[in-house]
């Protein structure tokens, strides 16, 4: 079975719009959350969001958008985009450049693209409103393409002239973990030599605010403490937008091209809670099973894991479930237990973006030789007792990192990354 390695990363997210900025934010544990002007209304109880900087994407008309000059996108390509497709296009452009892939390396039968996105609530709302007001013949011909759940896949597959496997994944906050996991399967099974994987989220009012209705968002108006996974006082997550792109390929292909390898992806696992549509299992049973399967698939023991990037979104129930799952798999006060942190304290929770963003942060941490800590914890949740939640960075990178994600319906994904020797 071919070894699967990561050779390229791209980031457009609240803590930076390229790898240099993102790593700098991680090293300083500097968050990217702020007051969101569109939340500044008396009937909106939520105030903070993780916004992407240097992009102006509030209009539903892509021709109104402003984004950094380095990204050249033609009108006929841009017109079918939702905001997160623009983020995804830019992140993928970075990842392709980072992996030093030529256009022929991207557009061939051996290279595919998997995506994760929940579609664009804003574009859907805009197009349906227009349909009701002006009639269907006055709607943009690409309104569907820009709105529905597959938008990230449709647009990027066409724009990057993908000829291999392509598919979009939608499993809420586990989506981009599934996209990476199934991309791994595609390469490991020898069906593709290379997979590009992109997860994205608009992260705007239309995407984030509905979560306030289910009481999942933090009502804390202070950007410095609103997202504080594992803190006793945590009160919900902070919604975020952006995109992350990862290039997976066979080790053989990476070596043949002379590409710099970030790390290996030795395996992954998934399992479901079978419990509740929106509430995680109190004991984190599905997540524990996903972690066990990921380790088994990777040929590793719990003691081999140096670092876990937790899903922990800063919700009271979710973080507790995950802490229990971690104790189930790694034990309480293990002598060789992994360091654990949630980078969502810095990035906020990117929903469909979350899993791949955190895998990208783990790969960057392995490359740059440090382990990011869990920021904003003032009083550690007693539930975390017996686990090594690191509140500051460790000066060395993990050899084996694991990153968890859980989504609606009780879908759990655990991905494993391993430094190459």
């Amino acid at each position: 079975m071919p070894k699967v390695v990561i050779t390229g990363l791209g980031f457009i997210c609240p803590i930076g719009n390229d790898q240099t900025a993102v790593v700098d934010s991680l090293r300083r544990l500097r968050h990217g959350l702020s007051l969101y002007p569109r939340f500044d209304a008396p009937n909106i109880p939520v105030k903070v969001a993780g916004l992407v900087k240097d992009f102006s994407i509030e209009s539903p008309d892509p021709e109104d958008w402003k984004f950094p000059d380095q990204y050249k996108i033609r009108r006929e390509t841009l017109r079918g985009f939702a905001p997160h497709v623009l983020f995804g296009h830019c992140a993928l452009t970075q990842a392709i450049a980072d992996a030093k892939l030529a256009p022929d390396d991207v557009s061939n039968a051996d290279t595919g693209l998997f995506t994760a996105s929940a579609g664009s609530a804003m574009m859907l709302h805009h197009n349906l409103t227009r349909l009701e007001k002006h009639g269907v013949m006055r709607c943009s011909p690409l309104g569907i393409v820009a709105s529905v759940v597959g938008t990230l896949s449709y647009n990027l597959v066409a724009a990057f002239k993908i000829l291999g496997s392509s598919c979009g994944f939608a499993s809420a906050c586990a989506s981009s973990g599934h996209a990476l996991g199934f991309a791994w399967e595609e390469v490991a099974a020898g069906r593709q030599k290379r997979m590009l994987v992109v997860g994205g989220e608009d992260g705007n009012l239309e995407t984030v605010l509905p979560f306030a209705g289910m009481r999942a968002l933090s009502l804390n108006p202070d950007p410095n403490t609103a997202s504080r996974p594992f803190d006793r006082e945590r009160d919900g997550f902070v919604g975020a937008g952006g995109a992350c792109a990862v290039v997976l390929e066979t080790e053989e292909e990476a070596v043949r091209r002379g590409a710099a390898i970030y790390c290996e992806m030795p395996g992954w696992g998934m399992a479901s809670d079978g419990y509740n549509v929106a509430i995680s299992h109190p004991d984190g049973s599905g997540l524990a099973q996903a972690m066990r399967l990921a380790l088994r698939r990777s040929g590793l023991q719990p003691g081999d894991v140096d670092y876990i990037n937790a899903h922990a979104t800063s919700t009271p129930i979710g973080d507790t479930s995950e802490l229990r799952a971690l104790k189930t798999v790694f034990g309480v006060n293990p002598s060789d237990g992994p360091a654990i942190s949630s980078t969502k304290a810095l990035t906020g929770h990117g929903l469909s973006l979350a899993s791949i963003l955190e895998a990208g942060l783990c790969a960057a941490a392995i490359r740059h030789g440090f382990t990011p800590g869990s920021a904003h914890i003032q009083n550690l949740d007693p539930e975390a007792e017996g686990l090594n939640i690191i509140r500051t960075n460790l000066p060395e990178g993990p050899r084996v990192a694991m990153t968890n994600s859980s989504g609606f319906g009780g879908a759990n994904v655990s991905l494993v990354l391993q430094a190459t020797s």
Binding site: E76, G135, M137, R138, P141, L142
Partner: protein, 354 residues
């Protein structure tokens, strides 16, 4: 322009297809009240300006003038201004430099979806409705100008052209690859337009010239001749009293040929022939070739001889485009060689001057 993409038909633009699609007043009322001042409400003007916010100021002013006065002059420029707004900046100079022959898809890169955007804006701004089937006939900027002019002035629409695709061309024509130089054609009763793209691997380029592959002028002339053959086979002209037999058309003469541009691999040639006189057994045509906005070649006169299909052949020839399959199979002469053979009494009548 294909109206089919990703398995979905292009949205029907027929007015009867939906109550959504009603305008406050019909186009014909506008045109019948030409030059009657009909000031726009401030809201309508704002709306129009918003819709045209990415168009040139001239386009906005032209549209406002039309909507206020109903005067048709300048409407063509408004439509060109709307098309321009949907073009990539690097393509825009082509629109201004190009003549009416500029092709919407091939030269400007406007695909069928962009065309829908153009049409929606034109419909809104000029308050007209454009049917989907009419839209398919608009292939060049000239087609668009003519169409809009007819609609605005209430004139009858021009004759609908016949589009002939490569498969039908191959089925109809006595010439076959690798000696067929018409890849797509649009036929009207007074004109045939064809397309030939130089692929670069044509057999004759190898020796023409040594280390410098250039399309031979004789092939340019051949391409125009082939388009004239297609015209005789496919167009129903009053002078043609019966279906023309594809196996009985031959070249006899050409006159006044001038070549103005060297053509190489990758060039997309537009071929045009217009009948000057057709009287059995001769058809006289004028022809020219362009590449983008550049002149390639001109022939004052290309003369073909033709004969009608025999009664048993005629049914096949007239019925559909599959006449050649039968003819070719029956012919002992390979199609490529046939056009080079002078017909009895044909070649002596004229002299080719190349």
């Amino acid at each position: 322009m294909s109206s089919i993409f990703w398995g979905m038909a292009m949205p029907e633009l027929r007015p009867e297809n939906g109550a959504f699609f009603q305008f406050p007043f019909s186009f014909f009322r506008v045109s019948s009240s030409v030059h009657v001042s009909n000031p726009l409400s401030p809201e309508a003007e704002l709306d129009l300006r918003e819709q045209l916010k990415r168009c040139s100021p001239e386009t906005v002013e032209g549209a406002l003038r039309y909507r206020t006065t109903g005067a048709p002059d300048g409407v063509g420029l408004v439509v060109i201004g709307i098309i321009e707004r949907f073009l990539d900046p690097e393509v825009r100079p082509r629109l201004h430099a190009g003549g009416d022959g500029l092709r919407i898809f091939d030269d400007l890169g406007i695909d069928s979806l962009t065309m829908v955007e153009v049409v929606m804006l034109v419909e809104d701004v000029l308050q007209i409705k454009i049917n989907n089937d009419e839209l398919r006939d608009l292939r060049t900027i000239g087609d668009v100008k003519t169409y809009i002019n007819c609609r605005i002035r209430g004139l009858p629409l021009p004759e609908r052209p016949v589009h002939v695709h490569v498969a039908e061309i191959m089925a109809l024509m006595p010439q076959q690859p690798p000696f067929l130089f018409v890849q797509e054609a649009t036929l009207r009763s007074d004109e045939a337009r064809g397309v030939y793209k130089i692929a670069g691997d044509e057999f004759f380029l190898e020796g023409h010239f040594k280390n410098n592959p250039v399309l031979p002028a004789s092939i340019m002339l051949e391409a125009l001749g082939q388009l004239a053959v297609l015209f005789l086979l496919k167009t129903k002209r009053a002078e043609l009293t019966a279906p023309v037999s594809p196996s009985k058309i031959f070249f006899t003469a050409c006159d006044g040929v001038r070549c103005q541009r060297i053509c190489k691999a990758g060039d997309l040639l537009t071929l045009v022939v217009k009948p000057k006189r057709i009287k059995h057994p001769l058809g006289m045509f004028e022809g020219h070739i362009t590449c983008g906005n550049e002149k390639v070649a001109f022939a004052e006169e290309i003369c073909l001889t033709f004969d009608y299909a025999a009664a048993d052949e005629a049914a096949t020839v007239e019925g559909n485009g599959h006449a050649h399959a039968e003819n070719g199979a029956a012919s002992p002469t390979p199609p490529a060689a046939r056009i080079l053979q002078p017909p009895a009494g044909g070649a002596e009548r004229g002299t080719a001057r190349l």
